[in-house]
Point group: C2
């Protein structure tokens, strides 16, 4: 039986609410004994939106043992005050940081509605779309003839995390990413193929524990040679020896998230990402 205390949390944003929800999630990990029930109210830009949120929160408050927590990132003071006027206790990211920033920066904040995840400038947006298209067209060893234009080339055995990481790097950092799967023909040579050697500085290897790989492959093709522990162990051993022979940086993806893999790669390759996402 789950006897964890339940705490309702609401996120009120005049934009997507993605930043504030992520901040909330980060803070909640500090309270592992509490289950947080979350609801986001995005695009709260008018009085009607705020009133709808307030009425919902009040209803939840009446039916729960604990007073709900409300996180806001509203730039408009009048909208924010609607919540304050309703006896709702608020954790506000603007009032927590903006006054001190204003004094540090010796200038006034604009209090204009959030543009954090707005489209901003079109060239940035097109760069992002280009990066995604590049990642999709250079997935899984496709289009090796243009792979030298990649900012990052991931390599590794099947199901070691190459595609999700490439997509994340493209989506979040506008980086052109490609990936090259290590297969039997590469294992025979114990080296990366000739076509990739010109791009040596962009290449990053992924490895994974045989147990984890076996689990992931089994989900996909149960009882196959492909998913067997022996095959997984053999491929990983070969892949790691290629990384060592070619002096490639590599990371074990067994127990890290896509975000952690991406951050590590950017740090190790000393890249300066362009995105603002």
């Amino acid at each position: 039986m789950d006897s964890k205390k339940i705490q309702n949390v609401f996120f009120i944003s005049d934009s997507t609410g993605i930043t504030i929800e992520s901040l909330g999630h980060s803070l909640f990990t500090q309270f592992p004994d509490i289950t947080f029930e979350k609801k986001v109210f995005p695009f709260v830009t008018k009085k009607e939106n705020a009133e709808k949120a307030i009425s919902h929160i009040k209803k939840v408050a009446t039916n729960s043992q604990n007073t709900p927590i409300v996180f806001t990132s509203l730039a408009d003071e009048d909208l924010k005050n609607l919540f304050a006027a309703n006896d709702i206790s608020i954790f506000d990211i603007f009032s927590s940081f903006i006054p001190e920033m204003e004094s540090h920066l010796k200038t006034q904040a604009s209090h204009a509605i959030g543009e954090t995840h707005g489209v901003g400038n079109t060239s940035d947006y097109l760069q992002r779309i280009d990066a995604l298209n590049f990642a999709l067209s250079h997935d899984d060893g496709m289009k090796l003839d243009t792979i030298e234009h990649a900012d990052i080339i991931l390599t590794g055995v099947s199901r070691s995390g190459k595609t999700p990481t490439c997509l994340y790097l493209a989506m979040h950092y506008n980086l052109k990413t490609a990936n090259y799967p290590l297969t039997d023909s590469d294992f025979e040579n114990s080296y990366l193929p000739e076509t990739l050697r010109a791009s040596q500085d962009q290449i990053f290897g992924l490895t994974i524990s045989p147990t984890q790989l076996c689990k992931i492959r089994t989900e996909r093709k149960p009882n196959s040679k492909y998913a067997s522990f022996e095959q997984c162990e053999f491929e990983i051993k070969k892949a790691e020896s290629i990384y060592k022979n070619s002096k490639l940086p590599f990371i074990d993806t067994s127990s890290v998230s896509i975000e952690e893999i991406a951050t590590t790669i950017i740090q190790r390759l000393n890249l300066k990402p362009q995105g603002k996402w």
Copy 2:
């Protein structure tokens, strides 16, 4: 000539730094007259990492007119104190929120190192990978025979933003997404194809201004019929009439970001996303 004031900002995190950088970006949009030069120090979990960051920040401080701003999200008090002891002024997300949260929740924060973008539980991770694989295999009208398993099916003309939005929804919310491109055969009928009608409730239309579409398509295939204003205008008109005939919700993607499109779709379809990213 760009005469904007330049302000150096550093983000110090014991994890990826993604949350705190996103928070910083959100705050910086309130100061449009300042150019923020950002650098992230992720995975600051040991004294050595902190000292390296401090030494870099001090060097930048000596060479710049404005005192750098440092944002931290370090759970470990000793590490955080290293920064304080070095005359570096800190905006700390933990001390801004945790004490008040502790008093509201009537419990102590764990002060354990951040798990925000850690792999957390494996089932959540596998769900995310499944969602991404579903999105990739159901891109651009592929695998219509299993499209009914999608949580969301996006439709729209070529280059209206379907694929990036699908990938974003899968990556961030673990949602199984598919997309179906509207082409000539659909325009002849003025209705969605038979195969999609069973999934009516999951379908969301994307539209875009002819000018914006023409611009995007011209980047891809300059001087083609495909990229001409007339063709773009014709296709969009037809697509919108299909949405109206089929009573589909739809959104204009011309000047909104992928995040805003995704948030709007989740809100309009009343979905409860599973992810924690």
